[in-house]
């Protein structure tokens, strides 16, 4: 028999066997549930709380592996927003390794400017509560990147329950009659129970947060702050990235750090990039047009 046939045939057979062994030793344990993410302690899972002008996201998780190889470049990522809609990544920690048969801890402690979060909040018809859709993604690669596993968990976080803050959400029905839609306007956050935080403003005066030709308007009434509206023009991405100051009309400005402004500008730019021709708000009659 000719070598020109036997050598490649043997090589192909050897490669097939090797590949089969890799699948058996690496992929099968993955499929059998060899990677898990659990709360480090009971109740230490993802929590969102409103603290002043920020939404604070906290979580303490342990990634456990029963796989026969180390997991490299493991990641944990938290994204807000409905799957398939406009989304913003609020946590994307540094890559870490999980040793074989071991575990690794991931601690999340992030602050996000409240109006930013409100852009992706949804109001639920049934519960009448404001919830924030979030996706927690965890995963990693192993065996010299030959295989990788990712777990994505879509969750709805009930902001009022988690924060102890009563929230009234003005519902804006969608044209196609869906139960909820992305929150855009008229959310009232009752800050009465927030441990004595005082909003340093008079009632009924709009607060405008301006970024280029994008304006976010908040209104304070008693102990409530309402997100009154968001307006955005076209071609503003560049302006947003070079964000201007946040203005409180006729009152002392809200203390918002440059970091927060930059964060909001960055997230807003990504959000608005989804709508190059402006945000279509035909379904929201209360705004009376395209913002």
């Amino acid at each position: 028999m000719k070598l020109s046939y036997t050598v490649p045939k043997l090589a192909i057979a050897a490669a097939s066997v090797a590949l089969g062994l890799v699948v058996l030793t690496s992929v099968l344990p993955l499929l059998s549930g060899g990677l898990a993410i659990d709360e480090t302690e009971a109740g230490s899972g993802l929590q969102m709380e409103i603290e002043g002008v920020n939404m604070v996201i906290r979580g303490d998780y342990t990634v456990r592996s029963s796989l026969p190889y180390d997991i490299n470049d493991a990641y944990l990522r938290i994204t807000l927003g409905k799957p398939g809609g406009a989304r913003m990544t609020v946590y994307d920690g540094e890559a870490f390794d999980v040793p074989k048969g071991g575990s690794a801890k991931v601690v999340i402690n992030e602050e996000i400017f409240l109006p930013t979060v409100m852009m992706v909040a949804v109001a639920n018809h049934d519960s009448g509560k404001l919830t924030i859709p979030a996706t927690v993604s965890v995963g990693g690669v192993y065996l010299d990147r030959l295989t990788g596993l990712g777990v994505e968990v879509d969750m709805l976080i009930d902001v009022s329950n988690e924060s102890g803050v009563a929230i009234e959400a003005g519902m804006v029905p969608t044209a196609d009659g869906k139960d909820y839609q992305s929150f855009d306007i008229d959310v009232t956050v009752d800050v009465e129970e927030l441990g004595g935080i005082t909003i340093p403003m008079e009632d009924g005066v709009p607060i405008e947060a301006k970024f280029g030709d994008t304006t976010i308007t908040l209104v304070k009434n008693g102990n409530s702050i309402s997100l009154d509206g968001v307006s955005a023009g076209t071609g503003i991405i560049g302006d947003i990235l070079g964000s201007e100051e946040i203005v409180v009309t006729g009152h002392d400005p809200i203390t918002v750090t440059e970091e927060q402004k930059a964060e909001l500008a960055e997230i807003l730019s990504a959000y608005l990039a989804e709508y190059p021709d402006g945000i279509p708000l035909g379904d929201i009659p209360s705004l009376g047009g395209v913002l």
């Binding site: 045939k9 590949l19 029963s66 990147r145 030959l146 295989t147 709805l156 009022s160």
Partner: protein
């Protein structure tokens, strides 16, 4: 010489090889995947019983259902390979007729692998899990990324397809010899039947009656 007619003719085929090829394909593309899925399900159920699994019972049920779905999907995609393995086995190595089927087998197998794993990333939807403490879980998706493994497997499959040419070249002489022997046997049978009585056919095959002299050369 190997006789006349196309090499696709069933007269130049090996029915036993067809049966062997089909049995091999059924084992590779139906029985092995079923066994593999049963093995995975068995491992998962054993880990649940022993309490070493990280997953909840609802998740496990959903996951097992997904695995069976993927197994059924693979079997249905690989069905044509079982059919192609019949002519592949039917025509012996070294035959021209085997080449197109061998090539098709290799390329279609590569295609099946790519389709089956959606190019390398298989996503399994475990479903919602309810929730507590103000957090409700809508969906859990597991994504297995085997892109690298898949492309190696695809390359192996394509190489197997091209190996048909090397196989043809390596077995051509044997094949022609086999055909000669087959023709010789037919000729002998024909001669034997001629001595018993006039008959111009053996079975379904038409046989050219050649008078053979004592030295083995055909008579003029």
């Amino acid at each position: 010489m190997s006789g006349s007619g196309s090499e696709f003719s069933l007269k130049k085929a090996d029915p036993g090889g067809a049966v062997l090829g089909m049995v091999g394909a059924i084992a590779s593309f139906i029985i092995v995947p079923l066994c593999l899925c049963a093995l995975i399900v068995g491992i998962i159920e054993a880990s649940i019983r022993s309490g070493t699994s990280f997953m909840e019972a609802e998740q496990v049920e959903s996951l097992i259902e997904e695995y069976w779905y993927y197994t059924r999907r693979f079997i249905s995609l690989a069905g044509p390979l079982v059919l192609v393995s019949i002519p592949m086995g039917l025509y012996p190595k070294g035959s021209y007729a085997r080449i197109p089927f061998g090539l098709f087998f290799g390329f279609y197998l590569a295609l099946v692998l790519l389709i089956f794993v959606h190019g390398g990333a298989v996503t399994t939807d475990v479903g919602g899990l309810g929730g507590s403490g103000g957090v409700s879980i809508d969906a859990v998706r597991l994504t297995l990324n085997v892109t690298a493994i898949m492309y190696i497997a695809v390359m192996i499959s394509v190489a197997k397809g091209f190996l048909t040419f090397a196989e043809f070249a390596a077995h051509r002489k044997d094949y022609l010899k086999w055909l000669d022997e087959k023709d010789e046997k037919k000729a002998k049978k024909a001669k034997a039947s001629e001595t018993e009585g006039p008959a111009e056919t053996v079975g379904d095959d038409e046989v050219e009656i050649i008078e053979v002299e004592e030295d083995g050369e055909p008579a003029e």
